[in-house]
Symmetry: C2
Subunit: 250 residues, 2 copies
Amino acid sequence: MAQTLPFRQVSSPLKASCHTCSLSNLCLPLAINETDLESLEDIVQQGRIYSRGEHIFDQSTPFRSCFAVRSGSVKTSIVSEHGEEQITGFFLPGELVGLDSMSGDHYACTAKALERTSICEFPVQKLEELTTRLPGLQHHMYHLMSQEIQHSHQLNMLLSKNTAEERIAALLLSLSSRFQRRRLSGTRFSLPMARNDIANFLGLAVETVSRVFTRFQNQGLIKARGREVELLDVPALQGVSRELSQQACP
Amino acid sequence: MAQTLPFRQVSSPLKASCHTCSLSNLCLPLAINETDLESLEDIVQQGRIYSRGEHIFDQSTPFRSCFAVRSGSVKTSIVSEHGEEQITGFFLPGELVGLDSMSGDHYACTAKALERTSICEFPVQKLEELTTRLPGLQHHMYHLMSQEIQHSHQLNMLLSKNTAEERIAALLLSLSSRFQRRRLSGTRFSLPMARNDIANFLGLAVETVSRVFTRFQNQGLIKARGREVELLDVPALQGVSRELSQQACP
DNA sequence: TTTCCAAATTGATCCTGATCAAGTTTCAAA
DNA sequence: TTTGAAACTTGATCAGGATCAATTTGGAAA
């Protein structure tokens, strides 16, 4: 995958057009003004398209940029010394990938496209220069990073206190509200990730995930066929989850 | 606890002396220069002393400041809708509390002193102003927040993949290396937290923590009497833990 | 010192979810 | 269309750790 990086930099980087991007209200501070927005556009590069399963970066890639998902979705994961993988997050359009890597000179995780995915690239060096000039943008960076800490803490609680059913209900509701913020249906959507990924993320076995899905289905809470999911009874799901209403929702 | 806050602000805040603070190499960027350090000292207030169990802030407190532990130790926790508590971190001298709260206008967690604890206060408004002027300090803030995300991700992995023994070994080793960085013994120290807190933090029952401690003791890995702990066989503990070598170690 | 309550330990039993083992479905490539 | 492999589902069994219960220890206040 190391070859893809030089390629992306050689190929003339398109200047991003945050002005017209429908996601700008998600990945940008709402308070940002016209001139500030132009400064940001100057440093943002419209990255290339990644196809399903393709690496965006991994723990051996030198850290240069954060990435905003424009369309599609991304998963990040860390790997233990013994090769065990732990998925640390799923990222939907408008969400920023790489905030965990802003210390050290390599990425702290591996990022992989879950489907055909388009991303915008923020070179951190330029971003840091810019945030010293734009206090509003700096504040927004603190805001985003702080939220990522909070969401991870909520996930800790979920993993340490909740049952399999509660974890899965919470994930479904999280996805639901995040889709909804993107003006997509919050009750009928397509899971960007495999059952295996769900299991890994939530600290469960695949078989358990599968069983809970069918149990929810039998109880009339959801309708699921493969990755297509319909939430039939959101209040009931909320009753099951009791926590993490909008994990990782920026 | 709300009464203590006004009190702390009325009582003339002492200007901190980061110059002479033995922890400055932990909580400050190493590259910071003389003039920058003075700017920082201008905004840092030497906070008051908290006694064991005392609240520093909670989720109803308006967010104003981050805090650096000067001596003693602090635990932070979040509470679910149903009143379940989840400890999200233990903080030793030199570590910064409150980075998860830099979004929103209230703290995102509750912070409580685990013992007699002295802290320095960083009013965030002034801190943000300062970081726009000092790019090195801004970079350091990104660095610290990024690390907090990483540590939380590592904790996620620990909770989702590791056994009770592995979790506890990892915690002991984490504390060990953090004490060591503070020039304290890494093999013989006093746990700042109760068994209950360890259990809560690691997603276990108290009884399990107790049992693992005695098991480790019988295997000759540690010697434990109450909160006094001696690590007798660090390599063996590392073999048990296999992960999270230095969680939350800034 | 005694008293008292919280913290910690130890034992016995139970249950959720892991693991092992077959299938079944899906979907992409030939 | 066939084929093959990965993804998913379902069933049976097992085990790690939770829970319940009973002491024991420790430390602060009287």
